[in-house]
């Protein structure tokens, strides 16, 4: 009677290995490995999300250096709370929620600081976000690259003037392309609220960007 000594002899080795491979590369598995002290697993997580998180916070705060700091703080918090992480949500939802909270608290800190800025002269009387005076340049531009750059800068400025409750869902939807369900989980609100806020945000942007549309 032959005794099976290796798993290959079972005949379904390739499928099993594939499952193991997928499991070890999932975000959950990487976080489990991080929890057990695997630094390389955490480095893999960082390499997967660093650009997304940095970009998302940059779109929220319109400050690149601050966004890099906050992105690092996001990963530090993930690392510290690896033991308390629960699998009920996707890891991307979890890390985006941390990043959103950090970005919103940074925006509120800025609001408290009340920096003297020219935008303060155009603050709305109802206490809303300041509307930046951003008249479109009517002169024709020779280069299409310049046009694109100018348009992107205008969009970024327009987004940064949106109220924070409209800003986050708009970025998550139109820039990052996330689903309403995921956005609702990240922002800890309902899907209906998310849809409504995105619609309002687009309405604000249409008014601000009418010269480019």
């Amino acid at each position: 009677m032959n005794t099976l000594t290796t798993i290959d002899e079972l005949g379904f080795a390739p499928a099993l290995q594939q499952d193991v491979l997928e499991d070890t590369t999932s975000d959950h598995a990487l976080l489990e490995a991080t929890r057990s002290g695997d630094q390389d697993a955490f480095a893999e997580l960082v390499s997967r999300y660093r650009n997304q998180i940095t970009s998302y916070i940059y779109r929220m705060t319109n400050d690149y250096d601050g966004a890099v700091d906050l992105a690092q703080e996001t990963f530090v918090r993930v690392y510290r709370a690896a033991d308390r992480y629960q699998r009920s949500y996707a890891f991307s939802t979890y890390i985006y929620r941390i990043a959103t909270n950090l970005a919103i608290s940074e925006l509120r800190k800025r609001k408290r600081r009340k920096l003297v800025s020219l935008t303060g002269f155009f603050q709305q009387s109802d206490g809303g976000e300041p509307k930046e005076f951003n008249p479109p340049d009517a002169r024709p531009l020779q280069d299409s690259d310049l046009v694109d750059t100018e348009r992107r800068n205008a969009v970024q400025r327009a987004i940064s003037t949106l109220p924070e409750k409209y800003r986050a869902p708009l970025i998550l939807r139109d820039v990052d392309g996330r689903s309403y369900d995921e956005i609702a989980k990240i922002l800890e609100t309902s899907e209906g609220t998310v849809k409504s806020r995105i619609s309002r945000a687009r309405g604000f942007l249409r008014e601000k960007m009418h010269a480019y549309l």
């Binding site: 940095t54 940059y58 348009r151 992107r152 139109d174 480019y212």
Partner: protein, 256 residues
């Protein structure tokens, strides 16, 4: 009715992703309604512009900085007196400090409330004694009662000292509630010892004035024609000596 269809169509267009196709109902409405068609075009263009923002890459040293930050935090957390530990202990220290300050304050207040009567009694006892120091010069002890000055003798003795010279501030004790007695020596009620010529100078502990000097000062005046006149000056006593040893800083130094 048409307005409702426009709202429904716009909501559907709003919720779709750019690459998704809308329903046939919406397509039919877009063919008919120019306003919704314009809305759809502008909305699509806006979303394309926003979507063109893309991803901003993290800096190249992102991983390195993150590792350094984590290493720094872990090393600081390992030390017993780390900043994080201090942050957690700070509230405890603040609470203990508040309790200590409160206890000291309560102790001082209780002391102040319990002891104001004692100095007042002392003051009340001392005040008449101070007033008794103003005595007429008749009570001045003369060394020898038989040697009273004769009427013809010119005795330069002040009848009464001006009251203004005596600075009485017994109320200071009551004001400040100081338990300590004033740094004074009240000797006005102490009778000066009469010391004879045989005794050594300065042996009297009660009144440290050289008693040998307590004698009549006599001198004779002769006008050159045989008319001599003897003038006897009795001892002048100032009664008491009250030395203020920095007890009254407002009074001039060495006030008698």
């Amino acid at each position: 009715m048409r307005k409702n269809i426009c709202e429904v169509t716009r909501r559907e267009l709003d919720e779709l992703m750019l690459d998704e196709t809308c329903s046939t109902t919406a397509v039919d409405h877009l063919r008919e309604c120019g306003a919704c068609r314009e809305f759809h075009e502008k909305q699509t263009k806006l979303r394309q512009i926003v979507g063109s923002l893309g991803t901003v890459p993290a800096p190249a040293d992102f991983d390195f900085r993150l590792r350094a930050r984590l290493a720094n935090e872990s090393s600081s957390a390992a030390s017993p007196f780390s900043f994080v530990a201090w942050q957690s202990l700070r509230r405890g220290f603040a609470a203990v400090a508040v309790l200590v300050v409160f206890a000291i304050g309560a102790y001082l207040v209780r002391n102040a409330l319990n002891q104001p009567t004692a100095p007042q009694v002392e003051t009340a006892k001392q005040t008449p004694a101070v007033r008794e120091t103003v005595k007429p010069p008749q009570e001045i002890v003369t060394p020898n009662a038989a040697e009273k000055p004769k009427p013809e003798d010119v005795a330069v003795v002040p009848n009464k000292r001006p009251q203004g010279n005596r600075i009485e501030r017994p109320s200071l004790v009551a004001i400040f509630g100081n338990k300590k007695p004033l740094a004074t020596r009240e000797l006005s009620n102490t009778r000066a010892e009469v010391v004879g010529n045989t005794e050594s100078v300065g042996t009297s502990a009660a009144f440290p004035i050289d008693a040998t000097s307590v004698q009549f000062f006599k001198f004779s005046v002769d006008d050159g024609r045989g008319n001599a006149k003897t003038i006897s000056v009795p001892t002048i006593s100032f009664g008491s000596q009250r030395l203020m040893q920095n007890a009254n800083q407002f009074a001039p130094k060495r006030v008698w």
